[in-house]
Subunit: 237 residues, 2 copies
DNA sequence: CCAAAAGTGTTAGGGTTACACCCATGT
DNA sequence: ACATGGGTGTAACCCTAACACTTTTGG
């Protein structure tokens, strides 16, 4: 056995913080928790936790997300590593931020209650502890970029959804209005939606057709277009 | 003073690994070092080091880069956090990868020698230790993306450069050929280049005009276009 | 019958691509 | 004079954005 050459290296707690996006058919929202421990007890915060020895970063982020939502196999993507010296007043930590997209109706209510968590509209967030605001800003940017590049956001919707709902989601992500006709054309031309013959009448008398995301078609497209990808650009501001 | 609530948290060495791009007017290259310590002694590796207590992640990456190149104020951007459990056989570490763009003629030769470092063409790299190949792939993707979105790569060139040289650089980044006329039009329409009246005659009898990157114009543009940004897209594959 | 949301096509303009010839000069 | 790389313009096409009316149906 070799001696451990890393003997004299500094070691740090590695935190994972998760930005959790949800969509309630109206607004894009974030799930935040109210800290019940010091420091910053009683203030709003992203859900987070510390890396443990037997898990990768991805696994840890996933574990932390499950802890709050009860959900497994959630869409989760690493965002950025935050490592300012004084970002945590207790002790020097570094934090890898992840963001996730979940179906807002789909989480475990008891767990959310246990953590005093609440959904906040993305454009009306409370103050957040530490550098969590920076993390949220980064996540918003990433989500916008992602939505511009590939059909994203299906994770935020129920299995079946209408085109007006999907448009509403994109409008929340871009914080702008989109033209109905152009939106439909573009999203349908991506060829990853499957129309059902059911109608959703909750929001209109006429009713809107329900669509389903066809992940087979999506995978096929991704494979064919080798990375260049399906493209959905935000309008120019 | 509060008791440290993080008392029972696991702690890990946090590595920084840097992907160093350079360009020799012909090919895009990476600066790699030959490890002179175990494990994997004698094998090629990215330049790396460990985070210390008194520096942020960015500062650490910058320190490590200076250690190898002698250069300060280098273009440096965080890439991704790598944290597989067994990525380092010595001990569980996590690594935040950074990539940087430097002028290939501009580094300290002695230091490079001290680390047995060498420039490798991007399309002819040796085997790398640990997960460094994954890091390089991620960096290539990021650079390509960045070049498509904004005028990048001036960091890789000397202060004055010709348009054919710049085109050569973009061609290396995209690994494809570009049309001379279209390239010129697009790059000049970005309005961030300043023409000098000097000519570079090293590569042709006629000589090519030298240009300079005008960072004032660039900043102005960035400000005006609020993020949407100057756009330079790669051709479709 | 009417209010309210869903659904549908066309046109004009801007941007991207494809493409070929002349210029300057060192040898 | 000629070989070598540098420099220039235009036309076709495609994609995007702008835009208004009809359909359905619950109340």
């Amino acid at each position: 056995m070799l001696p451990n050459q890393y003997e004299n290296i500094d070691r740090f707690p590695v935190a994972l913080d998760t930005i959790i996006f949800g969509f309630d058919r109206q607004n894009l929202k974030l799930l935040l928790i109210k800290r019940d421990f010091e420091p910053e007890k009683g203030n709003w915060s992203l859900m987070g936790g510390f890396l443990e020895a037997d898990e990768s970063l991805d696994e840890a982020a996933s574990r932390i997300l499950t802890k709050l939502t009860g959900l497994k196999n959630i869409y989760l993507e690493q965002l950025y590593g935050f490592g300012e010296i004084d970002r945590d007043p207790v002790e020097r930590t570094i934090s890898i931020a992840y963001y996730s997209l979940i179906n807002i109706h789909d989480h475990n209510k008891e767990l959310v209650e246990k953590y005093s968590a609440r959904w906040f509209p993305i454009d009306d967030l409370p103050d957040l502890i530490f550098d969590h605001h920076k993390m949220v800003e980064a996540a918003k940017g990433r989500l916008r970029h992602k939505a511009a590049t590939q059909p994203v956001g299906f994770e935020l919707l129920p299995e079946k959804f209408t085109l007006p709902e999907l448009q509403q989601l994109y409008e929340s992500i871009y914080e702008t209005d989109l033209d109905k006709r152009n939106f439909r054309r573009r999203i349908l031309s991506m060829n990853v939606l499957e129309k059902t013959d059911e109608k959703q009448k909750k929001f209109s008398k006429k009713g809107a057709y329900l669509y389903r995301f066809d992940s087979k078609k999506f995978e096929k497209q991704k494979a064919e277009e080798n990375g260049a990808g399906l493209s959905f650009k935000p309008p120019k501001v």
